[in-house]
Symmetry: C2
Subunit: 305 residues, 2 copies
């Protein structure tokens, strides 16, 4: 049995003090079974975004440690930054990668939320797939008015009470948003035309907000350097709205204007399953299993060690 | 820097005595950095085929150990089996998987051959990409007449002298064939027709032996249960003759008979690069790198640990 693998991208409200940033990421560097893919601090946002991959148990243990360090150094009463936030540890999303279903990731988020409050005293809101209240699915709704407004309203308005702890926020660390969400794939389609109206129109057909694919967000924009236009998308559920399906739909729509797909871009990380799914579709593979991929089988064996 | 990863599929002339088979594979099980993907003994062939993946140093160390155990237990003077062979340790092919070029794998085979002879006294022939004599590229040429003929001719005919050691073979273990070769991808294309002549004709267009792709072997055969025919192929260099290129060529040829591709099969293991190459082609990906695949980046990080 391969052990479950998750991604976690915690966001901390500290982007300016290098010694604090290094102290926060230290537990991720030293915990066996946790792989620190990346961490980026932004001074304007005054925010640190960390990318972790690993096993659920080890990720949670290292998070508790890192969050306690962040809690010690960050005071929301004096914190300033361009990015919306409600706490020293602002958001902790858990994302299934392999060997774990979304339902299990939701359970993990809920268990972690309880433990987190017990160990830090910081109240928790659940969001995305882990939301317990429908209006809390979207992060923006929870973060409305940010820390400064929430610290009042959490106490006075029942609909803004935290899911765990509260009603008042933590005096210095505020509150944290914990949840489970699918892996987001950034996928852009560049079209052989300079007419941005074509990209905007296609983006409209594709995205959920105007009635297209349920799990696609997208906009049309101009790529002046390339003499092309782009349908820039986020696939927020690559299992339901596969990369190939999105591409072929855009290609079909572009024909209406006699426009062709020049190239596509996958921006940032992508799970192997998302790429293999498209390879299998185009290759018409019958019965292809991801563990036929040598490196994926090797990874499984290494994780069982 | 990610460490090099290779595959190695050593073949031992023992398929009947379970205790000997287990003794031979023991070093592969216990050596850290060596992953035993599979081992299969065939009684009729009286042969053991082992699949290993790992780092070159650890693979070589475990091989030396396993080969000494095989040498101790197998006597070619009494060995019988349906599969052609020239030694107790019959063939040791090294195959690049990632972070290592074919030229480096050839150098590795040559270095290993010298060390192997020094430690076991078993003479070595180099084959495939590691062949030092052009007529030894193909295994069949080296194995002509098998152990029984070779043990005489190795001493009497200069063109049959081993590359390392000899001219006489080892008195009980015979000789070993060591080499480097590309990863072989087994790829079948099933066609929507019952006319096997179509599959045979397409296989002829595709394979190197009748003038098609330089690194494709293939035959046409009938799949009576499915009511289809199959072009059954081995892609012996998936970098030069990509899966997608082979498929699209077969599709194009099939049109001549109004026949379409019903499905394809990838049989057994395949390197990630072979699948990602096809995904990138069909998705028209610009600048896609394999380390954008989360699991492949994780694997690299785990290997650096």
């Amino acid at each position: 049995m391969a052990r479950a693998l998750i991604e976690c991208v915690p966001n901390f409200s500290e982007g300016r003090r290098p010694e604090v940033i290094e102290a926060i990421v230290e537990p991720f560097k030293k915990t066996a079974g946790v792989y620190l893919f990346d961490y980026r601090a932004d001074e304007d946002h005054n925010r640190l975004v960390v990318s972790l991959v690993g096993h659920p148990e080890e990720i949670q243990a290292s998070l508790i440690e890192a969050c306690k360090i962040a809690q010690k150094h960050i005071d929301m009463n004096t914190h300033q930054g361009a990015h919306p936030r409600i706490g020293a540890i602002d958001v902790i999303p858990f994302t299934p990668v392999s060997g774990i279903a979304m339902e299990e990731c939701v359970a993990l988020a809920h268990n972690f939320g309880e433990r987190y409050f017990k160990e830090t005293g910081i109240p928790v809101y659940y969001y995305e797939d882990a939301a317990k209240i429908p209006t809390r699915t979207r992060l923006e709704q929870i973060r409305k008015g940010q820390y400064e407004v929430l610290k009042e309203e959490a106490q006075t308005k029942p609909e803004r009470h935290p899911d765990v702890g509260g009603p008042g926020l933590h005096p210095t660390a505020g509150a944290s948003v914990i949840g489970a969400r699918k892996f987001l794939v950034a996928f852009n389609i560049n079209l052989n035309t300079t007419d941005v109206a074509v990209a905007k129109e296609i983006a409209k057909f594709m995205r959920a907000s105007s009635g297209g694919f349920c799990h696609v967000k997208g906009i049309g924009l101009s790529l002046e350097d390339k003499g092309m236009v782009q349908v820039s998308m986020n696939l927020v559920d690559y299992e339901k709205n596969s990369i190939y399906r999105v591409l072929e739909m855009a290609r079909m729509e572009a024909k209406r204007w006699g426009v062709s797909v020049a190239e596509t871009e996958i921006y940032g990380m992508v799970p192997a399953a998302a790429m293999l799914d498209s390879a299998s579709y185009y290759l018409q593979s019958n019965g292809f299993e991801t563990d036929q991929v040598l490196e994926l089988k090797l990874l499984q064996m290494m994780m069982e060690d």
